[in-house]
Every structure is written in C-alpha cells, then in structure tokens.
Amino acid sequence: MSLEPRQVLAADGTVIDRREPDVSTLATMYAAMTEARLYDRKASALQRQGRLATYAPYEGQEASQVGAVAPLAPEDWLVASYRDAAAMHLHGYPWKNLLLTRMGDERGGHPPEGVNVTPPSITVGGHMIHAVGIAWAEKLKGTGAVALTMFGDGATSEGDFHEAMNFAGVYHVPTVFFCQNNGWAISMPRSRQTASRTIAQKADAYGLPGVLVDGNDVLAVAEVVAEAVDRARAGEGPTLIEALTYRVQGHTTADDDRRYRAREEAAGWLARDPLERVRLWLERHGAWDEARQSGIEAEASRRIEAAVAEAEALESLSAGEIFDAMFDEPTAPLAVQRHRAERSAR
C-alpha cells in the first residue's frame, strides 16, 4: 500500500500526471462545493442567532464530502455522520431536513422516499456496520447497489469500526469505508488516536485494500471512490479510503478550539483550500469569471434560504406528536400517556 496520498489537482490548481479533466465535471463539483460552504456558513450563523442547536461545521472538508458521493449512483446508499451535511445533501437529503434536525425537530430525520441516505449518526462509530448490513442486503438481493459510509479519524478507535471492517472483509460485501481524517477528534490529534502511521493501512489486516488520498482534492477523492465503487459493484468487495483533510473550525459551535490547537496549524491548511484550487483551474481554462462565481453563489444562497424559510415555517411537534413515531401502531399504554401529555400541555 502506498503511503503517498493520491493527488490529481495540486493546491496551485495544476493537474498532476493526468489528462486534463473536462470543464463541466469540474464546474459541477465546484458549484457543489460552493453551495456546501455557503450552507456551512449559514448554519453556523443561524446557530449563533439561536436558531439552531449545536452545529458541526465541515469547512475545509468540502472536497472530501463532494468527492465521496459524486461517483455514487442514485440507488447507492450513504450512511454518514453528524459532520457530513454536504455529502448527504449532494446524495439527495434536502437542506431543509438537515436544518430541521439541527433546529431540534425530529422530522429532519425523514428524507423523501427514494433517497437512500440514513439520518446522520450522532454516536461515533456505531453506523459503519450498518453500511455493511445494507450493502450485504443489496448483494443478497442482487441489485448491484453499494453502500458508502463516512466517519472521522476518531471513529476508527471504536470497536465497532473493527467489527464493520471485519464483516465486510469476511462476507466480501460492497461497502466503501470513507474516513475523513480531519486531523482532530474534538481536542485529540490523530496521532493520539492510533499508533499506526495511517488509518488506510488498517485495511490490510482485514484483507481489504486501503487507499490514501488528498482529501482537499476533489478530483482525487472522486477518482479513488469511483475505483472503490466499481470494485464493489463488480463483486470485488470492500475498500477503506482515508482522505487527508482538516477541520478548519471548532469541533462544533460549542467548542473553543483555541484551548487545544494553535492558529498557525489552520493557516497551512487554508493554503490548501479545496475550493481555491478548482477555481484556479477553471480560471486558467477560461471557464470562470466573477459573473459565473456570483451566479452560482446567488443560486446556492437562494436554495439555502428557501430551505431555512421552509424549515422555520414548520410548527414544532406538539405534546401529542412526540408519541407518533415510537411504533407502527401506538401501544395501549402509550396512548394513555399521550392523552396525559396532551392534557398537561393545555
């Protein structure tokens, strides 16, 4: 396994050892990353205004999130975590739902029918094995669909990560494990999470390929994921991908990262911004200008603002409605409790 991360588009916007990509692919990815960044900023701002509960910003990780899901087919599954709003959105989970969950409304967890994206996992580590089960089911059903699961470097310390990798290896299921190594798990640097040099190399012990990729390079991420998805679809089993990236903001809006890391660290990563390099490439190929930039920003903002308005227009759950989704049919004791809750709410 190579310990050199795969790179396609260098930080200065030049393509390394490849044919030049086509303009429309990159322009589409750039627009998605731009929308992702605008959403992230909007969500943080809403949180500061008290309109959202805590929020986990992903600034700096847009290339990982967009690159990870760009190669997926609509019927493929995404099983992601609390920091993966951009990836979830791109795979069909509406901004409105993501906002509702963050506002503290359970209905955020119900994406439209046909969207194969599970609600964000808030517990660390528990969801990766779900992607194994989902992919396994698709394999048994013979649909050809695969499952991609996203998690952080810290999540690889949980025992469930190892069980997931092991099951995937043993049953040869079409799962893509996509780790966003953003350098930190709250206050703990990656180096304190595991003594192995990379997370990617852990794959070897479970009998699957491990791939290291520059997580700020959307083309490289999309390339390695496409390879893993192709392998999975062809019946060649799971892959572990480690995307090297950086969490530019605090862990959540409730976190003060000045307590545990130096400002200068972020500076180095800001110079490797995932959006900047794509914009440089587009400009160099005569495919970008101010007008196009403000065009996609305006369109993205309009969609995001519309989602905020829709989410905020929803009446919050009533005392009775908190009982609605416990079982297919409410049990008799629950019906009694519901009645009492409604009475005391009056």
């Binding site: 409304d105 949980e158 908190i322 629950l334």
Partner: protein
C-alpha cells in the same frame, strides 16, 4: 467553605481525590480541554498526563482498561462524555465491572467510578439528553448515586472513589452550572446509601433525585403557598436505596409522589413505589403517583418541553394524591 457550582464542586472533588496516588482519571478530551463540561479543567496540568489521561474515542476500551487498572490496585475514575455514549461500554460494565467480585469470590475487585453526565433540558442533539439510570440500577453489583447540590456532589464523588466497589456516578447536566451552593474545602464524604431529607412536611412526600430536584423543590414551595406541607426527599443514592428514610416519610405523610425524568416503564420510580407498598401500604391514604418522562425517545430541542416533567405536572399529581 466556598460557594461553587455543581461543576466546580466536582472539579474540586476530583482534585482532592487525585491526592491519592492510586487515583487516575480517564476519558475523552478530559486533559487539555478539561472535558466537554470542563469538569476536569486544569487537572491534567496539575497532576500530569499519566494520571489525567486523554483516551481515544472508545468507551468500551476506556471502561475495560479502567477495570483492568482497578483489578491491579489503582482507583480509576472514568468520564464518559454523555450517558448516551456509555452504551458501547455496557458489556464491560455488566459482564465484568459488576461481577468480578462475585466471580472471584472477593479475590479480585473493581473499585472504580464511572461518571455519567445525564439528563435533558439543554436542547441538545440526539443521545445527549438520556436518563437511563434504570439500566444500571438493575444490575447487581453496581452502586448508583446522583447528587443535586454542589455539596453532595463533592462528598458523594469522594465517597464513590473510596468505595471498595464500582460506582456509577450520575451528574445532572442541567444542574452543572445552575446549582450553586456552599461547599466545604478539602476532603469529606457524603455517605453512599443515605438519602437526604431536604424539607420536613406532614401532608405528602415528594421523592426524587438529581436534576429533577429543582422542579420537586419548586413544587413543594408552591404547594406550601396552597397550605400543603410537603416533605422533600433527595434520594441521592439509588443503589443502595435508603429504604428506611422513604418508609418513615410515607408512614408519616401517608401520601407520596415519585419524580424522575427517565421514562415511566421500568423506571427507577417503580422500585420506590414497590418499596412503599411492601413496607408502608397500610399507612397509605392514596395510591402513590409517578411523575416521569414518557416512554418515548427524548425529544430534540423544539419539543423537549413536552417531555421533561414540569413543576406543574408534579403539582397536579400531588393535588390528585391529596384529594384522593
């Protein structure tokens, strides 16, 4: 004596506990940042990273390793960031921590403390508002305690560290900064197994613990304005339970309401009610009522108010019991 918040009292207790060289602290983000609630603030700087240990994100690993340390003679105090993240460690707790003494007929023991911030009311994300103490109180071999005041928090934590057996130590999140009070300096213990009779009364016993003590006291206060004399008990220790205190109180008042924010079915309140009917049935002048959370997943921020028992719900249950 100094005036402290409950969070500060816990910090003071941990600092004091670390005077014992056998004590080590383990948990996620407890070192540099002092933990998500800052309960271990400054302790790594003072006592070193070998004794205030930042761990990988792995609750089963934390508890399992602490268990090994306890067997080998240390006194680990573990912090799990939220009660809702304690479940990956549940197998270690039930299968090993709770059983090693009986499994080895006293040859090996697990004198360790597992600190679990618990409870709702802070508008948190999913899993951050859990109150699942009943899954711990049900397991033989575990002691389970919970403080509602800064003074008791410090004393109970020091007692838990001294205890020769494993103690699950619940910390009411919404009281961390809201509860303030006088806390003695230095070392003292609040005995495990002793409830606290907070207020004497003759008409009705209001029995609760932890975060719900606030609404319970509030209800007692408002009932007083209606001419009702309520007795208020803070159980403090769920296992072992101060049965005599509960029974004596109900024998006197003949009426009781038990309050907790955990769901109703199989909740700890059922244990208290069962005790009352076993030992004080003939003193009862009305059926005992429970005021609890509902049997639903704790709602997220926007509907959480419909879940947590309010002072009003306690009052109306009390009135029902008084009028029965």
């Amino acid at each position: 004596m100094s005036v402290m918040t409950l969070a500060q009292a816990l910090n003071s207790a941990l600092d004091t506990a670390l005077d014992d060289p056998r004590v080590v602290l383990m948990g996620e983000d407890i070192g540099t940042t002092g933990g998500v609630f800052r309960i271990t603030d400054g302790l790594q700087r003072k006592h070193g990273s070998e004794r205030v240990i930042d761990t990988p994100v792995a609750e089963s690993g934390i508890v399992g390793a602490a268990f090994g340390m306890a067997i080998a003679g240390l006194r680990p105090i573990v912090e799990i960031q939220f009660m809702g993240f304690s479940y990956p460690a549940y197998d270690q707790v039930i299968s090993h921590v709770a059983r090693i003494r009986s499994r080895s007929r006293h040859r090996f023991t697990a004198p360790m403390v597992i600190r679990l911030p618990y409870g709702g009311g802070i508008g948190a994300s999913e899993h951050h508002s859990e109150s699942t103490e009943a899954i711990y109180t049900h397991i033989p071999g575990l002691k389970v305690v919970v403080a509602s005041t800064p003074e008791n928090a410090k004393g109970l934590l020091l007692a838990a560290v001294d205890d020769p057996d494993p103690v699950i130590f619940l910390e009411p999140i919404r009281a961390y900064r809201a509860a303030r009070g006088e806390v003695p300096d230095g070392r003292y213990v609040t005995p495990i197994g002793a409830g606290m009779l907070e207020q004497r009364g003759s008409d009705i016993s209001l029995i609760s613990y932890g975060a719900m003590m606030r609404e319970t006291r509030d209800a007692a206060h408002r009932l007083a304005a209606e001419g009702v004399s309520a007795e208020v008990i803070d159980l403090r220790s769920l296992v072992p339970l101060d049965a005599d205190m509960v029974v004596a109180s109900v024998e006197k008042t003949g009426r009781a309401v038990v309050i907790h924010e955990a769901p109703l079915t199989g909740g700890y309140g059922a244990e208290v009610v069962a005790l009352i009917q076993e030992r004080a049935l003939y003193s009862l002048r009305a059926p005992v009522r429970r005021v609890t959370g509902w049997d639903v997943s704790v709602p997220l921020r926007l509907a959480e108010r419909h879940y947590l028992p309010s002072t009003g719900r306690i009052m109306s249950a009390a009135r029902d019991v008084l009028e029965a």
